[in-house]
Amino acid sequence: MRFIGLRLARGLLTLWFAVTVTFFLVRLLPGDPVTAVADPNMTEALRQKLLADFGLDKPLGAQYLDYLGQLLHGNLGMSFRQSIPVTTVLMERLPWTLILTGAAMVVTIVLGIPLGVLAATRARGWVDRVIQITGVTAQSLFVPSVGIFLMYLLGVWLRWFPIGGAVDLDATGFAATLSMLHHLVLPCLSLVLIQLGGYVLTMRTTLIEALGEDYVSLAKAKGVRPGTVVWKHALRNALLPTTTIAGLQLGTLVGGAVLTETIYAYPGVGRAIYEAVGQLDFPVLQGAFVLLAAAVVAANLITDVAYGILDPRVRTS
């Protein structure tokens, strides 16, 4: 319990830090939300009135305290441009981001672990070399480049997949589910490609190490089948660093989702962030960052707890 409590306290502190940095960072951006909607017909008096309407005429410290007070009441504020609560803006978008990042994470793990095992068990063979080279290359890819490449190849040239959106207008029932999956493939594949290398290479290295341990030699000496040695004995220990990677990679995944959603016009939180930056819609930006920071903190917390369960030594250290 103490272990979880400490991790939770650390998570909350991280969240407060993220909220504070975001609050001041968006206000460091050049211009203000009124200049972002600058209209030739605007007068200086009208501009000052708009700033006051947005609460931006108050001193920065007062704005910050107001915002923290709002947050403690679970209120993320009102969007400057849309005149609706930020919670409504984000809740409309969140399911799509969860579908995209969730699918990307599951596919990455489902592919990454077996490929890592395959490389480790064929260490220094040609299969291992191909997997290693592909993994390193994939790790060095940049999400927008991958996204645009896949869009041209599979969307425009081969016309296998739609190049934007999340679901067809006319699709209903099961067809809507299929349409959703159809639209999900390209953005999901883009995220999987940039993440997969990290999982595969980590899995490979840690499994090779684990396979060299005494308990593995003992199991082999006892006549345990090679498959059982790998999957039942060595893999459990080799999974520990991979679990850490899954938690850490969530941040990268979220960053990648912002870019991927923008490229494929996928209607998630990432695209909302992209739009809000251009409009300097501070409340939406702050709300989105708080939400994503909370997601990353929560994922790290879960990772820590999972690590504690997988390796009890962590709990007592």
């Binding site: 972002a36 441009r81 077996p114 300097l280």
Partner: protein, 524 residues
């Protein structure tokens, strides 16, 4: 080990299975082969609707969608002249202290109530009282609006203002009083559901981040729409819209095409380009409060150091017209000054003017929006041609908000940019060149110019306003308060499967204006 390989194979199969589905009615390749039906017209846009309250929203997509829902008093023909829409007639009183507008009597809100003078009065007076939105800065002369009858509105003005009817007619969306008056603050009213509208199409479905579905309104006064449904679909940028148009996923690209893209699409047999004039112009403004730019000879030297023809032909691929260095552009032919003459590209004359001003080794910085594809192409050309006159121009491509901020705070030597819509010269020149004008970026302060613009604004007809405004434009040109480079010819792309559009000037109206979409129909 065998199990490991099996697992890997299974995982690969899972992924390929996820890739496999081919969905009925999918927005994939099939659309490119099928003929258009009048069931649906899909328009690509690059942004979501941010605000459904037309009195507040001012992004392109906001305007395109809400223009189909909330009528304006007038629309515009291709020469920029106002044409009837909700209003059938409009005029000023002889003393210019009031204006009267007569409305159609056959327009209805979607809940069956008629659109009346009360709605117009409510819309304009709400903007005045709450002081917000695009229109607020345009109605400073308004004292009171009165519904004389259900189809007649009288605007009482505090001073004669010949720009008032043009401005209110074009920019003011009329909203249903019986819906909007219930909001404690109309400015803060999101109007994001249960829309009561009066246009050729009504909004029926919103999938934020994806699309906006609008259904035909039968019995729409100004003309029954042929197409049953209009869908605005959101894309990340124009390039993706082009791919979607070629793939048959959309029928119209709402946004203006960059000239290079237009040149590429020109020969595509499946695409038709509609050319519409811009109501704005691209220009360079010099900060006249900074030395040595306060000397007109230096500004003239800079004006002679630009190769205008090369910019229009190379950077704009020929999709641009000369405005003869005048702020009265060919897009508004009834205002243009036939005596206007473009500054010649003459580096030798430039050098001579600088020598007369006693300026040597002139080095200036030029700000521009780096995301603007046109300016990003011609900014280096401005730098290179100036070099021939011995002038060094350092380019500062900036992120848009930084650029706007620097412009409004006059933090530049040279500002490179373009106005989007300058639809009424007396009103627009007031904002851009009168002392203290909101978009007077170059800090021009010239009492003689102010007086000319004031005189034009008070005139109640184009004939009366023309002499002072042309004189003002000549002064702006001669003093180089603005260096007009070109007026862009906008290219709007649509599938050849559609026809009947009624193009109007500017990206705001183009072929997605209400009268155009009501007239659009499948070709053949």
């Amino acid at each position: 080990m065998r199990r490991g390989v099996l697992l890997a194979a299974l995982a690969a199969l899972t992924l390929s299975a996820a890739c496999a589905p081919s969905v009925p009615g999918s927005s994939g390749s099939a659309g490119a082969q099928q003929p258009a039906s009048s069931d649906r017209l899909t328009i690509g846009t690059t942004a979501d609707v941010l605000n459904y309250n037309p009195l507040v929203g001012n992004s392109r997509t906001d305007s395109w969608v809400t223009n189909l829902m909330y009528p304006h008093l007038t629309q515009m023909d291709m020469s920029g002249k106002r044409v009837p829409y909700l209003a059938t007639e409009w005029s000023y009183a002889e003393d210019g202290k009031s204006a009267t507008v007569t409305l159609r009597d056959d327009m209805k809100w979607s809940d069956g109530k008629p659109v009346t003078a009360d709605d117009v009065v409510f819309s304009v007076m709400t903007v005045k009282k709450e002081n917000f939105g695009v229109v607020a800065g345009l109605i400073t002369a308004l004292d009171e609006a009165v519904a004389v009858s259900p189809t007649q509105v009288r605007f009482d003005l505090t001073r004669p203002d010949g720009t008032f009817l043009d401005n209110v007619g074009f920019w003011l969306p009329v909203v249903p009083k019986h819906v909007f008056e219930k909001a404690p603050s109309v400015q803060k009213f999101a109007n994001d559901s249960n829309w009561v509208s009066a246009g050729p199409f009504k909004l029926t479905k919103v999938e934020r981040g994806q699309r906006y579905v609008m259904e035909r309104v039968d019995g729409f006064g100004p003309g029954a729409p042929a197409v049953k449904e209009v869908v605005f679909r959101v894309f990340p940028d124009v390039n993706t819209e082009v791919l979607a148009l070629r793939n048959g996923e959309i029928d119209v690209i709402g946004n203006v095409l960059p000239p290079a893209t237009a040149a590429e699409l020109k020969n595509d047999p499946s695409v038709k380009l509609e050319q519409i004039p811009s109501l704005g112009w691209a220009h360079l403004q010099y900060n006249v409060k900074r030395k040595p730019l306060d000397d007109v000879r230096v500004r003239q030297a800079l004006a002679h150091a630009v190769d205008y023809e090369a910019i229009r032909n190379i950077a704009l691929k020929g999709y641009a017209k000369s405005s003869n260095s005048s702020v009265l552009t060919p897009s508004l032919p009834e205002w243009t000054d036939p005596s206007a003459k473009e500054y010649a590209f003459d580096p030798a004359l430039s050098k001579q003017l600088l020598a007369q001003a006693g300026v040597s080794n002139l080095s200036l910085s030029m700000i521009y929006d780096q995301a603007d594809p046109n300016i990003a192409r011609w900014a280096p050309m401005v730098r290179d041609s100036a070099k021939q006159a011995g002038i060094t121009i350092k380019l500062q491509g900036l992120e848009r908000n930084t650029y706007v901020d620097k412009s409004l705070n006059h933090d530049f030597d040279i500002y490179a940019g373009s106005w989007a819509i300058m639809d009424n010269p007396p009103a627009n020149l007031g904002l851009a060149f009168k002392t203290g004008g909101y978009i007077n970026y170059g800090q021009v302060s010239d009492p003689e110019l102010d007086a000319l613009i004031d005189k034009a604004q008070k005139a109640l007809s184009v004939e009366e306003a023309k002499p002072p405004i042309q004189e003002a434009a000549r002064r702006i040109r001669d003093q180089v308060y603005d260096n007009v480079l070109y007026v862009e010819t906008f290219n709007i792309a649509h599938s050849v499967k559609w026809t009947g559009f009624k193009p109007m000037p500017s990206e705001l109206l183009s072929i997605v204006n209400p009268l155009s979409l009501a007239a659009a129909k499948p070709a053949g």
